[in-house]
Amino acid sequence: MALKNKLALILIIAALGIWLSVVTLSGIGLAAVPIILILLVDQGVPFAGGGPCKLSVSRRVTQPKVVTGELVLVELTVTNEGRDVERMVLEDQLPSGVGITRGSTYLVCALKRGAHATLRYEVSLLDPGDVHFGECLVRVQSLFGLTEQRLELVAPASVRIYPRLLSRRVLASRARALSFAGTSPSRFKGGRLEFMNTRRHVYGDPLRDINWKASARLGKTLVNEWHAERGLDCVMIVDFLDQDLPKVGRWSARTDVIACAYELSHALIGSGNRVGLLILGDVLVRLQPGYGSRHLRVLLERLIKAQEGSVWSARDVEGFLEKFFRRQYRFRGGALFFVTANPGLDVLEAVRSLALKGFSCHTIVVNTLEQESVALSELRVAGEASLALGTRVARAETEWFESQFERCSKVYEWTKDAGFVELGGS
């Protein structure tokens, strides 16, 4: 049990008053009477009540999985399993990047034995990833707040935040940019998208392919032939390197990179391609190329869980492709998609090298200059003129890199509002 400043102050006043009374033989120290009464009345109940203070906390979140911007209600319940608590201050500690939209993380109340109190607040979660709620601080005080006991209790709960899939009007250029026809067989086996010819029926042909009208007309059983749809082996290389991920204050380009990669993978898988994943950063994340919505979900989970770091860089990409994507690497038929927010020389060298080895390379530059500029102006670290100059320099740098990438790959610029725009393409 810790003593508070307030107690020290009133004790000093009381002691000073008593001393002055004794010295001057006057009633100047009568202030000590209410002070000592306050102290004793305050401490009387805890002394008499006795027993240890035993509190337990539990936490509940309404939704463990949400989309960015969705609201989550958090309920933190404290239950008193020990003696009566005369005054309790409950303060929940929010994880970083979490903003409160409604309610408070602070509660002052009394809690009798066996009773419980619940702290409720609503948070808005904006950055994709995992948010872990954990510790809360409980201060058990006497009623007048003269003594205090601090307890740090843990009530774990996690919320996973998924990026919102941006659905926009598909421009002709974008549709062309994101529709690929490759050499690998698509998941739509024996695809029925384009009619090619009719031929004689042979044993084993499915009944649904028989062209009944033509068979009746010609007096022999004919079956339709279709072009088998072909997909492409794509590997998405997402750059989560510290140095390539702009950050200003609490804002980070990570959110936009994840949104871009998600949109790209959705478009590629939706076109019947197989999509693999390689994430550079703190821990190497790899996923073999695969089809379908289930694969897309796995891919999204990996993207969300990935953390930025400086361990695995673009220099390692070739080695990983050879090691983990052997077949795709050997046949050189696949396409590589580099997704980066702030392209550096490492990425440029990797793209050049892989393009020379026969890979079809695509670079997607996630343009976050506008958001970065807004974050800088909110922090007020630079004036308007400096910000405008900085934005122009950053734009020029990005354009230089884009021109270099165009020599060895197709380059697309992605922005939150406009989506994918092919640069320098027809």
């Binding site: 102050l9 009133i10 006057s26 002070i35 009345v41 005054r87 309610g103 619940t118 409720r120």
Partner: protein
């Protein structure tokens, strides 16, 4: 009444309570500065206003309590007209003890209830209950002080002023002993 209006009302009530107590202390400081003819009184009242402003703004316990107790001597001087030279100290002490304690309590509660994003009904109710208990306990303190004062006053008819202090101390101990015993019997009873 919808939830949002209730939150706003709760917030307004707390702000009003804090503001009223702070205003009372400001007025007390003003009165002390006017009626205490010495420069010391004026200086103490100025110090009180500065500390009170700091305490009100930052919701700090120490500054709020210290600001009140700076008025002890000037206020005792003013109370002399009403209670006489001896009992004015007790009156001043009781007044400041109650006011500063309540102000520091309201400061803490206001952190919870003046949250920018509001507070839910349960939080408001629990804080309200605690506020009531706090007020009742302060009333208990006031009652004890009055009882002790009356007993001491009765004793002072017979004995000298120095003896009053001793009598007051003995009464104080007896009163607290009685209170603690009552609290002990209540605390032993299972509740909740």
């Amino acid at each position: 009444m919808d939830q949002g209006r209730r939150f706003r009302r709760a917030r307004r009530l707390v702000i009003l309570a804090r503001r009223r107590i702070a205003a009372l202390l400001y007025i007390t400081a003003g009165v002390a500065a006017i009626f205490d003819p010495s420069y010391v009184g004026l200086g103490l009242a100025t110090g009180c206003v500065i500390l009170l402003t700091i305490g009100y703004h930052f919701k700090g316990d120490f500054a709020s309590v210290a600001s009140g107790w700076l008025l002890y001597l000037p206020l005792a001087t003013i109370f002399t007209f009403a209670f006489g030279p001896f009992w004015s100290y007790l009156a001043s002490g009781v007044y400041l003890a109650v006011i500063t304690e309540r102000l520091s309590f309201e400061n803490q509660v206001s952190v919870a209830l003046e949250a920018p994003a509001g507070v839910d009904a349960e939080g408001k109710r629990l804080s309200g209950e605690l506020s009531g208990r706090h007020l009742r306990r302060l009333a208990t303190v006031f009652f004890f002080v009055v009882v002790i004062g009356c007993l001491s006053l009765a004793a002072s008819v017979v004995f000298s002023a120095v003896t009053i202090l001793i009598v007051a101390s003995v009464m104080l101990i007896i009163a607290v002993g009685m209170y603690a015993t009552r609290a002990g019997s209540r605390g032993a009873r299972p509740s909740g």
